[in-house]
């Protein structure tokens, strides 16, 4: 028994820390956990994906097999589709921050960023349920884009798709994030939790 989760985004968005905290929560709740971070030469501005595997029994390898993804948490929609084309299957569910971050080639006018409509329908094709949210706006409203990762994790907990308690997670934020951001991180996590039922169409 296990759950395969990928947390993906663009380097610098805080998705690696999100994966680490989620894995800590899994471990504390008595699951076996592995996290494999996949990134290339650059961590800033490159595609980054963390494979988080929660399971009972023997240790699973740090990479999720192709087309075996249960839950996708994407901080950026293009990265969501990139992951889904490799790992998505009929039962995959996804929470996606629908705020594009343009790759350098798009900024320089050499490539096109996919049209929102096309991107959404491709994503929906590869998932059973998808919630597009605007976590960037929530983070900005809270005054610091750095808490985007906590909003996303809040939305994941709020979805009810993972067997972990939001209350325990708040104590992990308390003990594992920097003292300056701790308070704001918890606020952001709670805002994420509440995204359910408003613009989270789960």
């Amino acid at each position: 028994m296990g759950i395969n989760i990928i947390i993906t985004g663009v380097g610098g968005q805080g998705n690696v820390l999100a994966a680490k905290l989620l894995a800590t929560a899994g471990l504390e709740a008595g699951w076996e956990v592995t996290v494999g971070d996949v990134f290339g030469l650059t961590q800033r501005g490159g595609s980054v994906a963390s494979h988080v595997r929660l399971f009972k029994g023997y240790l699973l390898p740090p990479l999720i097999p192709c087309r075996s993804l249960d839950i996708l948490v994407a901080f950026e929609p293009l990265e969501a589709l990139r992951i889904l084309t490799q790992f998505g299957r009929e039962t995959t569910r996804a929470i996606i921050n629908d705020q594009p971050v343009w790759p350098i080639g798009v900024q320089a006018g050499r490539f096109q960023y996919p049209e929102a409509q096309e991107l959404h329908s491709a994503i929906e094709n590869l998932t059973s349920k998808t919630a597009f949210i605007n976590a960037t706006r929530v983070a900005k409203e809270l005054g610091n884009i750095q808490v985007l990762n906590m909003v996303m994790l809040g939305a994941l907990y709020g979805s009810g798709w993972i067997p972990l308690s939001p209350r325990t997670f708040e104590s992990i934020i308390q003990s594992s994030t920097s003292s300056q951001l701790r308070g704001l991180n918890i606020k952001a996590f709670r805002r994420g939790l509440k995204l359910k039922g408003s613009n989270l169409h789960i």
Binding site: V10, P61, P103, E115
Partner: protein, 616 residues
């Protein structure tokens, strides 16, 4: 207190593979650690660097891997438990001491952590360093998960002390960067001072001594074989007629595949954790009852060939295969799907791999290639050199963030092979051709292996320009210090070795020091060096902006914007510099004020002076 100093045995902690190794070393009473950083090994010394500030653990960032290995050897031969860490290509640099250190052996435990990089996530090659164990006759351990990375590091110290030999602990990127639960053990006290006992017939490797030491090494090797035969790190799992042999991360892929394919009753798995010397008798016992064997090992067919040798010598005729089965090849890293398919194909199991997603209806997905950061001073330096040298000159470059200068539009990079090669290869290029040569090296790489090449260039009268891009840190691997850093940036009272002094000390006569954000002066210096009939060095000094922010020395400059009243859309800014802070909206270039650090370089490039600082 550093989390790895948590003194509560039995607690389970989520650790990165590299953190688990550091913890294992602390549990073994590590007293002395050295390294040169290199992905994917860098997080091990990062822990030691922090811990050395709050305990009596000695740690240093050494100038290169050879130096790190020799510093560590001195401590281990004196009698301190010692660790040295490096990436796979770092062991090439340290290969010279490694080979003869195997002869002298060590007094206290010495563990060499070697991190291989299958798929070349951040390396110039994907060599398989299991061959170094064979080349040096030193034992090698290959853990397969975070718990073993901790436990076996401790075991490696004990093994090293029993055999009086350094032990190599090999990881790969996939293990170094995995996170998993680790049950902590007890922290052992450190012995941090000792007395060296003179023993020239063991330690002074003149031919007469080394002839005896080579015999001693082979005797130790035989002892190591015994230990490997009986080690719990080598384990047979299951008792079916189909054999699978695996090492490292592949063990996990095999276990997963076997369970997924439902063939637990049909297979016997040999997990090779103490992978060198190979446990020969164990391999024979393992293979004897089997129908055939599949070897699942990333990179070279090392175990496959050794098993075939063992089978031949013992008259076993079963089939042994590895490379060439399914997609199992000598290239890149393995993954769960590939291993599943290989096992299914080899043992003729009915298995349908999931079909890849049909992406024909999907929009094209633009990639996110690595790029120099917004405001990176390297961009300015490259731009200035390009303005002067045009496109015909040869630009050997080196290993660091600035290797990315090879990407368009800068396109500054004609050869990269290894650390320091920019300087020495320039000697060859400038003699062999009539083309101008201007090469690039970073400050940390210069100290690592640029200096010997520079001395060579001076002495042999080579004519080229070397640009040393001094950003005050080892940026690429995560901002580690090096001999040239300002002491205030490390929090340590260590003397600074000035790049410029070293260059002059090597005998270079034409030396220029520039601030690359001042394009005009930088271009003047580059021109002067090109016109100089001899060897020139330009030291281009500016902090890495990410590092500057981290140490509280970020530029207090306003971000810039494109004044649309003045912009005539030449697009020199985006076409020549391609700073990630610039973006096109329709046909118009804009600057993202959240990314711009106000380096002013694009404002100096704009022919209309249309790029200006934001007010307020």
């Amino acid at each position: 207190m550093h989390k790895l100093l948590t003194d509560s045995p039995g607690t389970e902690m989520l650790l990165l593979g590299n953190e688990a190794i550091a913890r294992g070393a602390l549990e073994a009473g590590l007293a002395f650690a050295t390294c040169y950083p290199g992905t994917p090994s860098s997080e091990i010394p990062e822990q030691f660097f922090a811990i050395s500030k709050e305990t009596d653990l000695y740690f240093e960032y050494s100038t290169n891997e050879k130096v790190a290995m020799e510093v560590a050897a001195g401590a281990a031969i004196s009698g301190l438990r010692t660790m040295v860490t490096m990436k796979h290509v770092g062991l090439n640099v340290a290969a010279d001491p490694l080979m003869t250190l195997a002869y002298t052996g060590v007094e206290a435990g010495m563990v060499i952590v070697n991190a291989d990089d299958p798929y070349l996530f951040s390396s110039q090659n994907e060599q398989d360093n299991r061959y170094y164990a064979r080349l040096s006759s030193l034992p090698m351990l290959e853990p397969t998960n975070t718990q073993e990375m901790k436990d076996w590091t401790k075991a490696a110290f004990e093994l090293s002390e029993e055999l009086k030999l350094p032990v190599i602990l090999r990881t790969t990127t996939r293990l170094a960067h995995v996170r998993g639960g680790v049950k902590l053990g007890e922290l052992q006290p450190r012995k941090v001072k000792t007395t060296f006992k003179k023993d020239p017939f063991h330690y002074v490797c003149v031919p007469a001594v080394s002839r005896e030491l080579h015999k001693l090494l082979l005797r130790k090797y035989d002892q190591a074989v015994e230990k490997s035969e009986n080690s719990p790190m080598n384990e047979i799992i299951g008792n079916g007629p189909w054999g699978i042999v695996a090492n490292g991360v592949s063990v996990n892929y095999v276990m997963d595949a076997v369970s997924d394919l439902g063939i637990e009753d049909k297979v016997s798995i040999l997990k090779l954790g103490f992978s060198y010397p190979m446990p020969r008798d164990l391999c024979v016992r393992f293979m004897e009852p089997l129908e055939k064997v599949l070897v699942v090992e990333e990179l070279e067919p090392v175990v496959e060939h050794e098993l075939k040798t063992i089978a031949q010598e013992t008259g076993l005729t079963l089939e042994i295969k590895g490379k060439g089965v399914g997609e199992l090849s000598r290239l890149f890293e393995y993954n769960p799907g590939m291993v599943r398919k290989g096992i299914a194909e080899y043992f003729e199991i009915d298995y349908k791999a999931p079909l890849p997603v049909d992406t024909s209806d999907f929009p094209a997905l633009p990639g996110r290639p690595p790029n120099l950061c917004a405001g990176c001073p390297h961009r300015a330096t490259f731009y200035a050199v390009k303005q002067v040298y045009g496109t015909d000159a040869i630009h050997p470059t080196d290993i660091g963030c600035y290797t990315l200068g090879l990407l368009p539009p800068l396109s500054m990079g004609d050869l990269v092979i290894c650390m320091g090669s920019s300087v020495s290869s320039s000697c060859g290029f400038s003699r062999a051709t009539d083309q101008k040569v201007a090469s690039f090296i970073g400050d940390s790489t210069f100290f690592h292996s640029g200096i010997t090449g520079l001395v060579n260039a001076v002495h042999n009268n080579h004519k080229f320009t070397l640009v040393i891009m001094d950003n005050g840190t080892t940026a690429m691997t995560g901002h580690q210090p090096h001999p040239g850093v300002e002491p205030e940036t490390t929090g340590l009272d260590l003397p600074k070795v000035s790049v410029e002094d070293v260059v002059r000390g090597c005998g270079v006569k034409d030396v220029h020091v520039v601030r690359p954000y001042n394009l005009k002066k930088t271009i003047e210096a580059v021109r002067a060096s090109m016109e100089y009939d001899g060897l020139s060095v330009i030291v281009s000094k500016e902090y890495c902006p990410l590092f500057a922010r981290r140490i509280g020395k970020a530029r207090k400059a306003r971000p810039f914007y494109v004044n649309l009243d003045k912009c005539k859309n030449h697009r020199d800014c985006i076409n020549l510099l391609a700073c990630p802070a610039m973006f096109l909206e329709g046909e118009q270039v804009h600057i993202d004020k959240n990314l711009c650090i106000g380096c002013t370089v694009c404002a100096q490039v704009c022919p209309e002076n249309a790029i200006m600082p934001l007010k307020g």
